[in-house]
């Protein structure tokens, strides 16, 4: 019996949490899956049946390979396991093939790869040391953080229903963050470089990594007032970092450089022909911009300022992903979004350079980079909000202010993922899981910071509560009204704009202390 006790890890709450969520993921296997399922099946087929030189040229299916080479190699390895499940899925011409064995294999591969995520969460829990309020397990910051990360609603929905492989990628990111906290900078840099070559969306947070490593690792010491000590620059460190990044990139892009295929690879990775917004607007600044443009054009039409014949017929809110023009406000180009993003991340980068606050400051900067890129990026997908939510979870158990911003960001961000699951059988699942995560996160963080001032003011509470009626209106009331036929895009529009307000607010709240801090720093210097 003693052996069984040890084996089952009595009292080992972390294993119980991890096992519990894994079992939940197994139960989600028969749920709806999006076209991303076919995307990954196609990539299994491409990497298995074609030589490397064909990987980035193959276009039998519309879902061409558009992730960096490491992910292609990952699919290649998976395909060698897949052939024992169902050989047919590895045929490039078997479009939309989804036998039950294929489904089982794909779902299990996601669940299995999440092991890396679980390990990363464990490492992160070792690093943070939040407030110690009570002796009870459920009130320890480690426990709360584990639940917030392992049972994250957005990750469950995106990975195990919609179907993607975000779990292990975020695991790599969290692991690299944990290594930076543990002062193992080379490993952190290595892990991040590997991550970039798995999915290039993480380029959004590269400035944070670059500046932090340069400032806090390559300059080995600071002056007493915290500013930079130029003489402590270590060439060895810079060169070793550069070497690591170079070697990883060489491993990844080397073969394609040898085949002279780099331009093709890059054109696949960065397809700028797509529009400013996805079919469903991600709740960022451009959603508000689009909405404002629409409102102004409607007002303009009513007040006869605009000629109806001059307005382009295609609507941005229909389901197609093309390039559109705005009617009243100036149109937005990719270059404009890039400039806006750069301007948005610059203050946080400056703060990281001039007033480094160790790994915590880095984490804050990383979150701000991710969030700013989400706010102003070109063709941002709403799933990208997870890039900001997950690192922010680490900050949330530290300070009450961070917890408050985290909760607004998370609740709004998760709600904005609802349109991803539009089928009726999944409706109860998404509502139940959302309620589960939201109620737990709000109550546990409130209990953790109960000795400080309340987390939300009345305005924020009102806004968050408003999500309930919004959901009821969009999913239950609207389909039965007459507007469904005339204006079918209204629920998506409302969701997008409502969430954009919340996310923008959270972005401001997160940024203001940073700006104030850097302003104070500058005045002190003067």
């Amino acid at each position: 019996m003693a052996a069984l006790t040890i084996a089952t890890g009595t009292g080992n709450w972390f294993s119980a949490l991890a096992l519990g969520v894994t079992l939940l993921k197994c139960l989600l296997i028969p749920t709806y899956h999006s076209t991303d399922f076919e995307v990954h099946r196609n990539w299994l087929a491409i990497t298995h049946s074609l030589p490397i030189s064909q990987w980035y040229y193959e276009a039998t299916s519309e879902w061409t390979l558009d992730y960096p080479p490491f992910f292609a190699w990952f699919e290649y390895i998976l395909s060698h396991v897949a052939k024992y499940f169902d050989q047919e899925m590895l045929n490039v011409h078997n479009l939309n093939y989804s036998s039950s064995r294929t489904l089982l294999f794909q779902r299990f591969s996601v669940i299995f790869m999440d092991v890396l995520f679980v390990y990363a969460v464990r490492e992160c829990c070792k690093c943070i040391d939040g407030k110690k309020v009570g002796k009870e397990l459920t009130e320890k910051p480690k426990f709360i953080l584990s639940v917030l990360l392992l049972w994250n609603f957005g990750l469950l929905i995106a990975d195990h229903i919609h179907f993607q492989y975000n779990g292990f990628l975020f695991g790599l990111m969290l692991l690299s963050i944990a290594r930076l906290f543990q002062k193992r900078h080379m490993e952190g840099a290595f892990l991040f470089a590997v991550l970039l070559h798995f999915k290039h969306i993480y380029l959004y947070v590269t400035p944070a990594y670059g500046v932090y490593l340069l400032r806090s690792y390559c300059f080995t010491a600071n002056k007493p007032d915290g500013s930079i000590r130029w003489k402590s620059f270590s060439f060895v460190r810079v060169i070793s970092l550069g070497l690591v990044v170079f070697l990883v990139s060489a491993l990844s892009l080397g073969p394609f450089l040898a085949l002279n295929q780099l331009p093709q690879v890059f054109s696949r990775l960065f397809p700028f022909k797509r529009g400013l917004c996805h079919a469903y607007w991600a709740p960022n600044f451009w959603a508000l911009y689009n909405a404002l443009d629409k409102v102004l054009s409607v007002i303009g039409l009513k007040l006869k300022f605009l000629d109806p014949n001059n307005i382009p017929k295609a609507s941005m809110t229909s389901g197609l992903v093309q390039q559109f023009q705005h009617t009243v406000l100036p149109s937005v180009t990719p270059l404009a979004t890039l400039i806006c993003t750069l301007i948005a991340i610059l203050p946080s980068i400056f703060c990281l350079w001039f007033k480094p606050q160790g790994p915590r400051g880095f984490l804050r900067c990383l979150t701000l980079c991710a969030l700013s890129s989400f706010m102003f990026g070109w063709h941002v997908h709403e799933k990208a909000i997870l890039l900001a939510i997950l690192p922010m979870s680490l900050l949330s158990v530290g300070k009450a202010g961070d917890a408050s911003i985290f909760l607004i960001l998370t609740t709004t961000g998760h709600y904005s993922l609802f349109p991803l699951l539009f089928t009726a059988p999944e409706l109860p699942i998404k509502i139940l899981l959302m309620l589960l995560f939201t109620i737990y996160s709000i109550s546990s963080l409130k209990t953790l910071f109960r000795k400080e001032k309340p987390l939300f003011n009345w305005m924020e509470t009102f806004y968050l509560l408003g999500l309930g009626p919004l959901e009821v209106c969009c999913e239950f009331v609207f389909p039965f009204t007459s507007w469904k036929v005339k204006y079918p895009f209204i629920p998506l529009l409302l969701t997008s704009v409502y969430c954009a307000v919340g996310i923008t607010y959270a972005w401001f709240k997160l940024y203001v202390p940073v700006l104030i801090d850097s302003a104070i720093g500058k005045t002190k210097k003067q």
């Binding site: 079992l23 699942i429 737990y440």
Partner: protein, 477 residues
């Protein structure tokens, strides 16, 4: 309670698990002409709707219940509707009863109450049958639980009313009827038959009669109709058992074909006598010494006796035993968890027929992990924890060396679990030999039956040896 949000989280987890299981196949999916329980429920809706006419369902979709033309109707929207009705019934009746029961438990910390609720809500048997196979057991079990709650908290009238509703919803609840009767009778005796006790007895009798009359009123119009209803409810013509079930008669049948040898009325008498003989001691004790704890344990032993010895028992009837066992989870966590695992295992042939292997395995593992982490069951295997202390002391008067009871029980647990896992693996991976096509189902039933017999003895021991002196000893030590 201060940790209300954790209890809400637990309920949400329970609901999520239920709905995800319901995404799977249901009984008789795509298998004409008989289909299965899913079609049965739809058929009953068809009958009750069409004959007398009602307004409500017209709003949803009349095709689902059109008389005669909707036989065998299967569509995605209809499946969603049926599954939603089960969830709503569960949410309104069963789940609040469980939450309230756990909150009313005495001498337990809040954290343990919430953990208790989690384990009960994660019990795989009920989830798989209601949301997988498709039935509405949560309604009758929920009402029965309200009954238990009412009576344990001394709201005897409301408790009896709830239990009458349970019986009139599903006649299987009669398995629980005797303990209710004995406990209430015992309470009346305790209060004194000349004074308050008699008043209580009369009030209870009125409530029971009134609720039965109300439910049966539409069917009392003709004697023939009443008899027809009774014949449908208690199909004595259908024989001692049907299909494979983990009870004594089916297991006996493996060695000696009693179903064919003995005439029908002898089978009936045999089953009747053995059932009543096995449950009589506990019931008599309950009348003489009514206590809340004794009531719950008697519910277990009575239902188990009925399951093992009664007539025309279905494997799903094990749920009627599982519900009371869930109620004593906090008192004997180790044995209760073991029993609940065996009860789910005993329904394996049925679950495999419905293609519910993955949900079964996942929910069983989730339940096991929940119980292990909540109650640390493997640390609670001493004699005292198993409530066998007074029993072992009595035995030790005659056999001084009888000290190894808890170790025996631990080994039995290990053997039982290993057998269950092996049998599950064999049933799933291997094909049965040509001569014995039902080999694995019969083995599952036989092994489960042995386990159940052991539990019957165990629970009866607890009831009979649970005396006041036992409680005093606990206080002294």
């Amino acid at each position: 309670m201060e940790k209300w949000y954790l209890m809400t989280v637990v309920v949400l987890i329970g609901l999520t698990v239920r709905w995800t299981v319901s995404l799977n196949s249901y009984s008789g999916a795509g298998k004409p002409p008989m289909f299965g329980d899913y079609e049965a429920q739809r058929h009953w809706q068809e009958i009750t709707f069409n004959l007398p006419v009602k307004q409500w369902a017209k709003f949803i979709n009349p095709d689902w219940i059109a008389l005669h033309t909707s036989r065998g109707y299967e569509s995605q929207a209809h499946k969603l509707f049926m599954r939603t009705t089960v969830l709503i019934a569960d949410l309104l009746i069963y789940i609040p009863a469980v939450v309230l029961y756990c909150c009313c438990l005495k001498e337990i910390s809040t954290k343990k109450k919430i953990a208790n609720a989690l384990c009960i809500l994660l019990y795989p048997g009920l989830i798989l049958i209601d949301y997988g196979h498709f039935q509405y057991n949560s309604v009758s079990l929920g009402f029965a639980l309200w009954g238990v709650l009412g009576i344990s908290c001394d709201c005897d009238l409301l408790g009896s009313l709830a239990f009458c509703l349970a019986i009139n919803y599903k006649q299987m609840e009669l398995y629980h009827a005797l303990p209710f009767f004995c406990f209430l009778l015992g309470k009346c005796f305790k209060k004194g038959l000349k004074g308050k006790g008699f008043v209580l007895l009369v009030k209870l009798a009125c409530i029971v009669v009134a609720s039965f009359v109300l439910c049966w009123l539409p069917f009392f119009t003709e004697r023939e109709q009443t008899l027809q209803v009774l014949r449908r409810l208690f199909p004595v013509d259908r024989g001692l058992f049907e299909d494979k079930v983990a009870n004594i008669w089916c297991s006996f049948n493996v060695f000696l074909k009693i179903k064919d040898i003995l005439p029908r009325h002898i089978q009936l008498i045999m089953s009747f006598c053995s059932t009543f003989l096995s449950l009589l001691p506990a019931c008599i004790k309950l009348i003489l010494q009514p206590s809340s704890k004794g009531f719950k344990f008697t519910l277990v032993s009575c239902a188990l006796s009925f399951f093992l010895f009664s007539f025309q028992v279905h494997e799903k009837s094990i749920l009627l035993v599982s519900l009371p066992v869930c109620l004593v989870l906090s008192e004997i966590p180790f044995m209760s968890t073991w029993f609940l695992l065996v009860s789910t295992f005993s329904m394996l042939p049925l679950l495999l027929k419905d293609e519910l292997l993955m949900p079964s395995v996942v929910t069983t593992m989730a339940f096991f992990i929940a119980c292990v982490t909540s109650f640390s069951i493997f640390e609670k295997t001493s004699e005292e924890e198993l409530q066998l202390k007074s029993f072992s002391i009595s035995v030790r008067k005659y056999l001084p060396c009888f000290t190894f009871l808890s170790r025996i029980i631990q080994y039995l647990f290990l053997i039982s679990v290993i057998t269950m896992v092996l049998l599950t693996l064999m049933t799933v991976t291997l094909d049965p030999p040509q001569k014995l096509p039902d080999l694995f189902s019969v083995l599952v039933c036989f092994v489960s039956c042995l386990n159940f017999l052991f539990f019957l003895v165990y629970f009866n021991i607890i009831i009979m040896w649970d005396s006041k002196s036992g409680r005093n000893q606990k206080k002294i030590s």
